[in-house]
Each structure stands twice: as structure tokens, then as C-alpha cells.
Amino acid sequence: MAELGTVTQALLAGGDDGVDAHAVAERICRACVTGLDVDGAVISILTATVSRETLWATDPTAELLEELQFTLNEGACMQAATTGTPVLIADLHHNSNTQRWPIFAAALAEQTDVRALFAFPLQWGTMNLGVLDLYRKTPGRLSTAQCRDAISASETGALMLLGVRTDPCHKDADGDGGGSWLDHAPSSRAEIHQATGIVLAQLGVSAAQALARMRGYAFVEQRLLIDVARDVVSRRLQFTEEMG
């Protein structure tokens, strides 16, 4: 079975230091360019209805990738964001790969020397927190190990960005157990997702807001998120509007 890839390790080593979304994106992008066989990386928020924003780009070409997609309203990372599935294009000059976004592909060929493009959605359940785009100037696939590392890094990155969004204490970085939040095992526990659904229905809010409320409660009560989630699932704890 797979060991942790270098990119994922680099992300986890940094821990969750309560920084903002731009800093998180910078860390993910830098780790990818260092650890994977790619030339540049960029993370954007691509939500169709709300604001579109590039959080971090390692270089002007990476930035242009996003600008083109925002302008043309199509492209690999938009596809990744809407489908929630990675889009891996080993060779952009093979047009069977680019049928879903012909104008973007043409613009890329004209304005950049990008040949390979890999887009990974930063996904948490129904919510897309952004897309990680990696590019290379030479064609070729990512190796299986690299692809695995990139997927695991984007999953970790999604949790980090979600952490920033739902952080109960903002910059108060005196170790609120952010490490345990990033630790993949508790965050993948079914109880956390079930409790998210329960609180979502109790308060009539979105999944992200429900999670934020549980994290806030866990922080104030100095308990682990997983324990709060278990109390919610077992009905020992109920969230109401009146609670803080």
C-alpha cells in the first residue's frame, strides 16, 4: 500500500498554524512544485455563482492559466470543480483530451508553452473549496505514485482550507488541536459527516456552517471534534440558534 508522498508529508509537517487561505494555498503550491514533476502550480476558487479568485500562483504562466479560464468560462480546472473529479491531461496537443473546453485549449496553445495539465478539486463532501492546477511544459503523465500524492495533498489541502474557513479562533494560534483536525483519520470518521448533516438540519445552515459551529463548540468546550460529533449523533448534544 502507498506510503505518504513527499508533498503530503510536507503539508502535514507544517501543521495547521491558523494562517489565511492565501498562505495555505501558497504552501500547497510550493510543496507540489518541489515534490512533483511539474513546472508550476496554482490554486483558485472557482465557485460558479460566487466570487472567483486565484489564491496563489507560483509563476505568471500559472496565473495566466486561471485568468484564461475565468475569462473564457471553461477549462480543465472548471471541469474538475464541477465534477469533483481530477482532470489529468498528459498532452494538451492531443485534442481528444480537450474536447470539453476547445477554446481554452486553443488559447493555451497560443499564449503559453504548457503541454501537460493536471487539475485536482479540493473537495469536502458536496463542497468545492477550490482547484489545484499543476502544469508542465513537456508532455507526459504523472506517475501513479505522484498522482496519488497529488490527490492526497489536495485532500489535505481541502481540509486545511476548510479549517481556515471554519476556524473558531482565527489567528489565535496557541495550538487549538489544529493538528488533530488535519489528522486524516478523525476527519474521515463517519460520525463527523453524520453530525454535520444533523446540525445542518437543526440550524438550517450549509454543511460548512454546520461544521464551523461544531468546531467552535469543540474549541470553547476544549473537546475533540470527534467527541462532539459523537454526542450529536447519539443525541446527547443538540445545536440551537440560542447557543453562542
Binding site: 500500500m1 502507498a2 506510503e3 505518504l4 503530503t8 469533483g84 473529479t85 481530477p86 489529468l88 473537495q123 469536502w124 463532501g125 458536496t126 503523465r141 504523472l142 501513479t144 498522482c147 496519488r148 500524492d149 490527490i151 492526497s152 485532500e155 486524516h184 483519520a185 474521515s188 470518521r189 463517519a190 459527516h193 453524520q194 453530525a195 454535520t196 448533516g197 444533523i198 446540525v199 445542518l200 438540519a201 437543526q202 454543511a207 449523533v233
Partner: protein, 256 residues
């Protein structure tokens, strides 16, 4: 052939025909895996069954279970750290534990064996690999109330079901490269997150157990020919939860 055997033969044929039908149209991997664990329980006289997949970080995550009760999910999830499933995925070979109460099992997997003993529901476990080119991408776990090995013919049948699961995960879209596997695995694992959230919403709105919340979700999807993961998404994001709660639940076909 005894009548019992021909009855089973008939069930097996029906199961594979139905699975093949599922694979034809644009289908939902989670839905396929859910059907597969159902057939595993039916055909292999298991008391419970579950499928775990290895995520990009190599950890096992439960994606389908014959019953959505907390106990079974816990036993599946525990095996991310230790247990027959983990050993099966690491080795790519079946792992059989004919009696979990013997000291050898407790020595090998102390936490898992203790959890099984606590549950007092199961005595034996068979883990069959979801095989792909000499590697395992996950495992089908069969739990039985009674100790003892499965007959060889049942083991082969179980392995065939596990192979269908692998095929199903791979060919949701055309198989191009190994990288597709990672894409599909990731999509299946994420669908599972959404299903758990939807179960939470339904238990709250309908005052249901997790188990029956999942039954409503599944019945709603099947009776309308919708994808299970899509219905789950709508429960989380839109307001169909009340409709799903009101769904008639068909006679349960599963044993536990």
C-alpha cells in the same frame, strides 16, 4: 443437484445478471457497491458484509456496508489501523479468521479483536481483496456469527463478487491508465462523505436511526431510478429531505 443448491444457483445467476445490468448504463459506483454487499450477505450466508477502499494516503475507508448501523461501520473503519482487511489489502491475498476469539487473533489484532468481542455479534471474518494487477485497492469483508471457514466454493464466489466491485470502480468511465483508478476511488470516497451527511440530515428531520435513514435514501433513489450519490447530494444541498423521509420502505431484504 439438491433443490437448495439449484435455488442458490438461481440466486447467483440473478445476482450477476443484475450486476451486469447495473454496469451498462451510466451508473453510480456507491450504488453498485451497496448492491454487492447485499448479494454477499444473501449468497454467502454472511451475517454482515462491508467494502473498504484504500484512499490516496493508503488508509482504508468504509464505502459500503450491508447494514449502516454504527457497530458494523466501526468494525470496518477500525481496520484502517489493524485487522484482517488491512492485512488483506497489504498482501493482496484473502485473509481468513475462522475464530476471532482465539488468542492468536487477539495477539495479531488486539484492538480489532477486542471490538469484535465487545460487539458479541460476530465470530469469524473473511477478507477478500479487490484485486488489480497484483495489487489490492480495497477488500470485501464478510462477517459470520459462527466460527468456521467458508467452503471453498463460497470463497470463490466471494472473490468473484469482489472482482465485480473492482471492475465497477474502474469502468465507471473507460479505463485509460492507472491514474483513472485514483480518480474513481476518490470520487467513490467523496460520495460516501455526502451519504453520511445525508444520513445525518434524514435522522434529524425524520427522527430515524442511521440504518433506516439509509434505507429511505436507497429506496427513494431506486424507486425513481436516480443515482444514490445524487439523491444524497440533494438531501444535503436542497430541500428534498422531507420527501425522502416520507418514502415508503420496502420489505428489507437483508439479514444481519
Amino acid at each position: 443437484m439438491s433443490p437448495a443448491e439449484s435455488g442458490r444457483e438461481h440466486l447467483i445467476t440473478r445476482a450477476f445478471v443484475s450486476l451486469a445490468d447495473t454496469l451498462v448504463d451510466e451508473y453510480d459506483v456507491i450504488d453498485l457497491l451497496d448492491r454487492l454487499v447485499g448479494y454477499s450477505v444473501e449468497l454467502l450466508a454472511a451475517d454482515a458484509a462491508g467494502i473498504v477502499l484504500a484512499d490516496a494516503r493508503g488508509r482504508l475507508r468504509a464505502v459500503a456496508a450491508s447494514s449502516e448501523d454504527a457497530q458494523l461501520m466501526e468494525l470496518l473503519q477500525l481496520q484502517s489501523d489493524q485487522g484482517p482487511c488491512l492485512d488483506c489489502v497489504r498482501s493482496g491475498s484473502p485473509v481468513t479468521v475462522i475464530d476471532l476469539t482465539v488468542p492468536a487473533a487477539a495477539d495479531r489484532w488486539p484492538v480489532f479483536a477486542a471490538a469484535v468481542a465487545d460487539s458479541a455479534a460476530f465470530r469469524s471474518v473473511h477478507a477478500l481483496p479487490l484485486r488489480l494487477r497484483g495489487e489490492a485497492i480495497g477488500a470485501l469483508n464478510l462477517f459470520h456469527r459462527h466460527p468456521g471457514p467458508l467452503p471453498p466454493v463460497d470463497l470463490s464466489l466471494g472473490q468473484a463478487l469482489a472482482d465485480v466491485a473492482t471492475i465497477g470502480i474502474l469502468s465507471e468511465r473507460a479505463v485509460r491508465h492507472g491514474e483513472i483508478l485514483n480518480e474513481q476511488l476518490q470520487a467513490a470516497l467523496n460520495s460516501r462523505v455526502i451519504i453520511e451527511q445525508a444520513k445525518g440530515v434524514l435522522t434529524q428531520k425524520g427522527k430515524l436511526s442511521m440504518d433506516s435513514a439509509f434505507d429511505r435514501l436507497r429506496n427513494y433513489a431506486r424507486s425513481r431510478n436516480l443515482r444514490l450519490s445524487e439523491v444524497a447530494r440533494q438531501v444535503v444541498e436542497t430541500d428534498i429531505a422531507d420527501d425522502v423521509v416520507a418514502t415508503q420502505v420496502a420489505r428489507t431484504r437483508r439479514r444481519r
